[in-house]
Symmetry: C2
Subunit: 395 residues, 2 copies
Amino acid sequence: MNHEFYMDRALELAAHGLGFSSPNPAVGAVLVADGKVVGAGYHERAGAPHAEAVATREAGSAARGAVLYCTLEPCCHRTPEKRTPPCTDAIVAAGVRLVVVATADPNPHVSGRGIAVLRAAGIEVIVGVRHAEATRMNEPFFRFIRSGVPFVHLKTAQSLDGYVATSGGESKWITPSAARREVHALRARYDAVLVGAGTVRADNPALTVRDVEGRNPVRIVLTSSCDVPADAAVFDHAARTIVLTGETTPPDAIAALENVGATVIAVRRTTSGADSPAKLDPNEVLRALATNGLTSVLVEGGPGVATSFLAADAVDRVTVFIAPRLFGGGKRAFGDLGRSSLDDAPAYDAEWRSVDGCGVATWLIDPASVSGESDDIAPHAACVGECGAVAQEVR
Amino acid sequence: MNHEFYMDRALELAAHGLGFSSPNPAVGAVLVADGKVVGAGYHERAGAPHAEAVATREAGSAARGAVLYCTLEPCCHRTPEKRTPPCTDAIVAAGVRLVVVATADPNPHVSGRGIAVLRAAGIEVIVGVRHAEATRMNEPFFRFIRSGVPFVHLKTAQSLDGYVATSGGESKWITPSAARREVHALRARYDAVLVGAGTVRADNPALTVRDVEGRNPVRIVLTSSCDVPADAAVFDHAARTIVLTGETTPPDAIAALENVGATVIAVRRTTSGADSPAKLDPNEVLRALATNGLTSVLVEGGPGVATSFLAADAVDRVTVFIAPRLFGGGKRAFGDLGRSSLDDAPAYDAEWRSVDGCGVATWLIDPASVSGESDDIAPHAACVGECGAVAQEVR
């Protein structure tokens, strides 16, 4: 039996839930008996049945003796807030013979216990098939569930020599339309999209999902002083908008934005850089997002915001769209990061590809922070754990 | 018969001549009879037999009725300086039935006439199989033979945000060793490699071919004042070194470099930028190279040289190695190019790939300048011309 083949089908199914399943992960499941798919499903949205439950229900009695492919370790817990029963119960009840899992669930309430429950019930379990792909798909969930800190994906678009605008101030459009469409697809996968006030004033982006199918993320605007026009596109009513501002912002400036429907929240400023413009502390910003139920955010700039998030070690993934243009001057994509030597600026483990002539580099700043349950899960290695009592709902 | 298959073999053979055939192009030829290769060859170096002659000689009587694959249109001319007889004579005499040509030869002494001679002799000719690959392989030759101006390949290595050195001055090594090995392979394909005096003073590169097999190019150092140390690595005796300097450089500064074996040549400075440091005019530099028999040059920096060559429209191909690092400051890879709008900085038709985590973008500034004889040669289209009298040796 080709485990990779069926796990790829399960991953394809899981992908349908991306952007909709949050705060839960996107999960897919495929049940195979005698080389035939007898059940399949994915997790559509929080509160909806889990993928494994959908697949076993569809299979009915055909699940007996079948092989179940899951992109994530099946859940095994009940908590007061959890709206769905443990998948391990359904799997055991269905009489599945073998469960193939792409990655263990880093959720501390599962974390190997789901696998242990299955094994205790006499079901064979294989862990690690398409581990990298499954982890990549749910890296925001993996990061948030472990740390409580929203996953931050910093995206920039620049000329090859590192500028986001020409010396004449032009910034639209540096990259080709196919690259911009990818950005819209990215937006649809994140709970929130975030820009600084300077970007709102300069580019007036709507920050909605338009070039692809998908739901709009919550829009976050950072402004230490609420100096953004109330008629900016981010204040249309296509999506919710949260303005994060400094604690000393005058009430009338706040009221002006609340009047157009924005939620305005005060957060602390950074203490560093006494004579530089006051900036909101990126880690305070992330706390405010988490408090508002947002587990992942796509940071779209501008350079000031990108630089402050990087300098604060508040970025998980970076994606840079590099247009094959040379500006020779203009507005720089990144400012001072406090790095003066090569050791300060180590090479990231970047993946490169191209989109319509545009180079795209993407990397995780700290791959360990979003890996599956154990960094040392080797393909098909056994994963052990204990199914203990759990106190709090997560998945 | 699969023309592409055999043309690929001919291109592989041709590649053996790269770096050695100059000022001639690298050419390969394969003779096929009844699905068997009966003769094959490539042009080893200027003065050595042409690829077609090698292949037909090897085939002997087996060439009769065979198909000849040539990566370049066979030559048809005799000139006082030319050391080899016309290949068209050998092909006709050998009784070849069909000649498949990747691209016509832009050499004005051939330029379709070779094809016309073959057709006049009753041989069928197909032109355009693997046209793009054959053109790419010999783009320096194609550029030089048409214009008399050396082909300029500008190569830079930078951080993702566009710096060639950190703010602390570190520039070695930004890119991984696999990328540096590619640069050595590039050097071996060019007649000359060129840097500015600042790069000699800062990095003290030897500019020789070390990490791969290949011959050393002539080393060119640009210095408006001959302010380079006579004990720099470029003045070792591993290869010839030419110093191009300003017309007002003091004789003792020139003598110091001549004493260590360098050839020192005075060239005009640019008139632009009255209060900027005097720079040598890139077009004058190229004239000096051509006068010295150098048909192609790999410009390796630093930023001042790269910028002046780009600003003077004196670059044919650019290759940028982009290390996945963010410096946030330092020495910029490119300076002011006089571009203030997006229209001034159009998107190049770049190819992207990655080498050991490093992104590599490469593009031609003006693809038409190095295309095969006719831009409108379609695959397998007919190419007509007349074999006229020629006055001057080129190939």
